[in-house]
């Protein structure tokens, strides 16, 4: 069983600041982390491997410092890691990203056949969730998105049973291998990394590929050139005027609020139970 997990280095959006003058991200203001959903994807690969055995590879695209998230994935339990890093990849939207990653996956799979690809549901900096299904289409394998449980991996029949989250509930899906899964956070809890993993991660040097290391690449589909979407403009939405402020001491403010709420009979009514 060979599982490849796609991971992304993202700025911690909880901390990141926007430069109010230029409306652009101040990337230096936030530490770069392993996308939280991807951490769960690696953890799920570890859980599957505990049962099936095999190899876990992680794959990322980004600048050289993105090797940090590969090392983090090794800590969680991945066996090896690949980073595709090249100026030609820069400025990629989701379509160009899935193209580049699928080319790397092709090379990885030529070396060792890939059975399952796992991605996080989305990355917290882009919040799109479009790259995973895109990779699946390019590899011509079935995608199963929003996975909350991998119920069974049947190596003999080459199938997996999966619980997929829906708007109001979930569905049980059987998919043929190879397939691609995108996982929700609730699929597992990130375990503490055992010491040997941490030592391995500290010493690990990820394999780094440039575009020229990949095969049959159509360069026009990479990076900014290969991206059909562009950011037209960035803006802070016009601030609405806002409503009324309730002034005074805390007691006065509360009294005014109660009055307002009681007046709004269509919103809130006190029904006598007598």
């Amino acid at each position: 069983m060979h599982i490849v997990v796609c991971v992304k280095q993202v700025p911690d959006t909880k901390i990141i600041k926007i430069n109010p003058k230029t409306n652009t991200l101040d990337r230096r203001s936030a530490p770069a982390i392993l996308n939280p959903y991807d951490a769960h994807a690696v953890q799920e690969a570890v859980k599957i491997k505990e049962i099936t055995g095999g190899t876990i590879s992680v794959l990322s695209m980004g600048p050289p410092q993105a090797t940090a998230v590969i090392k983090k994935s090794i800590e969680i339990g991945a066996d090896r890691g690949y980073l595709i890093s090249d100026r030609a990849f820069a400025g990629a939207d989701t379509l160009a990203t899935s193209y580049a990653l699928s080319k790397a996956l092709e090379k990885i799979s030529n070396d060792l056949h890939v059975d399952i690809v796992i991605c996080g549901k989305h990355a917290i900096d882009g919040d799109t969730g479009q790259v995973g299904p895109g990779i699946a289409r390019r590899m011509d394998i079935p995608p199963v998105t929003n996975v909350i449980e991998v119920t069974e991996v049947n190596q003999k029949e080459k199938t997996v049973l999966i619980k997929r989250k829906l708007t109001n509930g979930h569905e049980l899906i059987q998919a043929e291998l190879p397939c691609l899964l995108t996982v929700e956070k609730e699929i597992n809890n990130i375990e503490y990394s055992p010491m040997p993993n941490m030592i391995k991660a500290a010493r690990y040097d990820p394999i780094i590929w440039a575009v020229s290391d990949l095969e049959n690449v159509d360069r026009s589909q990479l990076g900014l050139k290969g991206s059909p979407t562009i950011v037209g403009k960035m803006f802070t939405p016009p601030r609405p005027e806002g409503g009324k402020r309730l002034e005074g001491t805390a007691d006065e403010q509360v009294a005014q609020l109660m009055e307002v709420l009681m007046e709004k009979k269509d919103l809130l009514t006190l029904q006598s139970s007598k």
């Binding site: 926007i18 409306n23 899935s98 289409r137 569905e171 397939c179 059909p228 950011v231 409503g243 007691d251």
Partner: protein, 343 residues
């Protein structure tokens, strides 16, 4: 690619158990405006098994045309089969814009179709407009964790596609006298070619918190300080029979499960009353709650953006105000001997 070959605004009509999802009706309302500006027809497209009767409903909500593919293999949503259906329609009729609801299935489908059509797709849009001269879809969404909006354009590829958050667009009042055209399309699908099977669909009826349907929501943010103070949010909610929600920060901090997150990556809610307590009002949060009918904000910072969307704002310490507010409601209940309920 000759961009002028592509005409028309299309909306994916998502149905489950032959019931149309609310977001699809909302998108017909939004799509109607875009189609009128561009002076082209608005079409809905509908895939499934024995779903043809739904076409008239699609017309009543604003569509001029409905494309229908009815096939047993399309009974349950699956990426592979639905994608083939959409590809067939998109390549034959060449719409310039396709909108999908940003539901699990809508996002899944749109991502697959965009890849195969090699076109642009904007995720989780919350504002839609068109540049009529350039016939460009302007799909805007909160970006970078949600403190700013970005307008995404797809200049050289067609169709231009976007997924749109539920509950941010408005559906039109249905008009059963509207006239429209129903076009049935055949597709050749075989079950044995499908690599996925839907074995079971479980509707979660016991889901305790269904924020999307709640009439009153008490939502707390990081300004509550810690998990212990956050209990005040629960106490107020209990007192008035409301549901509890939280911001992304609060969910990330582990104070609440993800199902209770309000905002761009959580639920979009439209309750009658929304209490925003200790919430600064980042754009990614505001897009998830700004359509609430009556918004009450409590925050220490007089400049917090949450006050811009609030119907009533209280600048003050939630730790001081909340206990007083809870006390008032409790007293009211005792005096009148009743329950607080909502029209």
């Amino acid at each position: 690619m000759n961009l002028d070959d592509y005409r028309g605004v299309w909306v994916f009509i998502e149905q489950n158990d032959a019931k149309i999802e609310g977001v699809s009706l909302e998108l017909l309302g939004a799509g109607r405006k875009l189609a009128d500006k561009l002076q082209v027809p608005l079409a809905g497209f509908l895939l499934g098994c024995e779903i043809k009767p739904l076409a008239t409903q699609v017309i009543s909500y604003g569509a001029d045309e409905v494309y229908v593919i009815d096939h047993p293999v399309l009974k349950n949503y699956r990426t592979e089969s639905y994608m083939l259906g959409v590809m067939l329609l998109a390549q034959k009729y060449m719409p310039e814009i396709i909108l999908y609801g940003a539901t699990p299935n809508g996002k899944d489908l749109a991502s697959a179709v965009a890849t195969d059509l090699s076109t642009g797709l904007t995720a989780d849009t919350t504002m839609l407009d068109v540049d009529v001269d350039k016939r460009l879809l302007e799909a805007s969404r909160p970006a970078f964790g949600g403190n700013i909006m970005a307008t995404i354009l797809c200049k050289k590829h067609r169709p231009q596609m976007a997924t749109v958050r539920p509950k941010v667009m408005k559906a039109m009042e249905p008009d059963s006298s509207r006239f429209g055209k129903i076009i049935e399309e055949k597709i050749d699908l075989k079950e044995e070619d499908m690599r996925t099977k839907v074995l079971q669909i479980v509707n979660d009826v016991t889901k305790k918190v269904n924020l999307a349907d709640a009439h009153v929501i008490v939502c707390g943010g990081k300004g509550m300080g810690d998990l212990q103070n956050f209990q005040l949010i629960y106490e107020l909610a209990d007192t008035i029979g409301a549901s509890v929600g939280g911001t992304r920060d609060v969910v990330e901090a582990g104070w609440l499960p993800h199902e209770q997150q309000v905002g761009q990556t959580g639920e979009t809610v439209t309750p009658k009353i929304y209490f925003a307590i200790g919430i600064s009002g980042a754009i990614q949060h505001v897009v998830g709650m700004k359509n609430s009918e009556f918004i009450i904000a409590i925050n220490k910072d007089p400049n917090a953006p949450i006050f811009d969307v609030a119907t009533y704002g209280i600048v003050g310490d939630a730790m001081e105000i909340l206990p007083k507010l809870i006390e008032q409601f409790k007293q009211l209940r005792t005096e009148k001997g009743g329950e607080i309920s909502y029209a």
